[in-house]
Symmetry: C2
Subunit: 203 residues, 2 copies
DNA sequence: ACATTTGTCAACCATTTGGTTAAACTAATT
DNA sequence: AATTAGTTTAACCAAATGGTTGACAAATGT
């Protein structure tokens, strides 16, 4: 049982705060609402987490730590480029289908406060793509994939996996389908995205 | 000269409100800050736009109307699928480089209030992708592009073009480059993205 | 010239919000 | 039973915030 799942007051508050912060964002979230969600008095929030700012930081870091290590593990694994693309797409989409508010929350708050990234970079387990870049360059030299800037390829992988969740309300409108059908499209993307990327770079 | 560029009080307020709302979002934006930005008294905001909510709606619709028609024009143009992909990528990225806060603003607020999409759909000029879908299916039957769900292809196009801007703070951290270098990557994407997509679907 | 509408502002108001306090309750420890 | 430390609560507070008011100026029409 991980520390997040224990039923200490701190963790109950953190769970409630996640719920509210991720749904509404820092500015629109209300301490009272978080207290209600946690079933406690508002003063308790300040007892365990001095301020809204600190509670928010705890929530944000907890959220980020759910995502980043996954990315890092896959990118630094001893598998081929194609395997990495397949594994990341499949794992990431499965994960986000279970935590739909997470990506939007992180992106939104990083845009609100871009300097926050510096704190994250300093921590260990922050995703490092140098191995991935090497592998891609190697494959290009070996003539197995088309010439492409590895950074652009990385951005493409991330974009194709993350945006369909962040942009869901808009895309549902454009494609003109209901929630059920959209969820099915996301399920299909677990393999679809990797196929698309590999076709784009394979010679 | 379009109506947005005239220097009426309404438009000055709208311009100031855009600046603040797009940078901070609805919840974190302050009426006083918008008034300061517009160089007027706070009461003026309420005189011209009854409430924060209504001012926000005006800003949101104005922002959306800058983006949506472009997408619609390109998707319904009498050009080939490949041309559409090239035109959209190039036009969209050029546009967003000039209005960097716009995509994140729209996505963020649509996530906050998903029902808002319904209002937008009702308006004319809301993007319609049925022609694009037909063209893609036709090309598949003709054996010119690989089989792919046209909706997935559309989602891919949008994702590859929009996400690099919304996720910029995060991606800058992952790729570990400064703002200048990142902007150059975006410039490169004006052609890079279309090439990538076309390689992915071309037989 | 006068009256009426429209625009502008400083001061004000009611409510909300994050945060505090002091007292009360609980459960272990002596 | 008394002490102590940690936990919980209701009531309270100061600051911030969206919004209003009433006086006043500047156009606008007659």
């Amino acid at each position: 049982m991980t520390v997040e799942e224990q039923s200490t007051p701190e963790n109950n508050i953190l769970k409630a705060a996640k719920e509210i912060f991720q749904k509404k964002g820092m500015a629109a979230a209300r301490m009272q609402e978080i207290a209600d969600e946690a079933g406690i008095n508002k003063a308790m929030l300040h007892y365990y987490y001095r301020s809204k700012e600190l509670l928010f930081e705890a929530v944000f870091k907890s959220a980020f730590h759910m995502l980043a290590p996954q990315l890092n593990e896959i990118m630094n694994a001893d598998t081929s480029v194609f395997e990495k693309i397949k594994n990341f797409s499949s794992n990431y989409i499965s994960f986000v289908l279970k935590h739909p508010y997470l990506p939007n929350f992180i992106i939104q708050e990083l845009n609100r406060n871009p300097e926050f990234v510096k704190n994250l970079i300093a921590e260990k387990n922050f995703p490092n793509i140098s191995k991935f870049k090497q592998q891609v360059n190697h494959k290009i030299e070996a003539g197995e994939i088309r010439p492409i800037n590895p950074e652009q390829l990385f951005i493409n992988i991330i974009s194709l996996n993350i945006f369909p969740f962040i942009g869901a309300p808009l895309l549902k409108g454009f494609v003109n389908i209901n929630d059920e059908a959209y969820k099915q499209l996301m399920e299909d993307r677990k393999t679809e995205v990797a196929d698309f990327i590999i076709n784009a770079i394979k010679i």
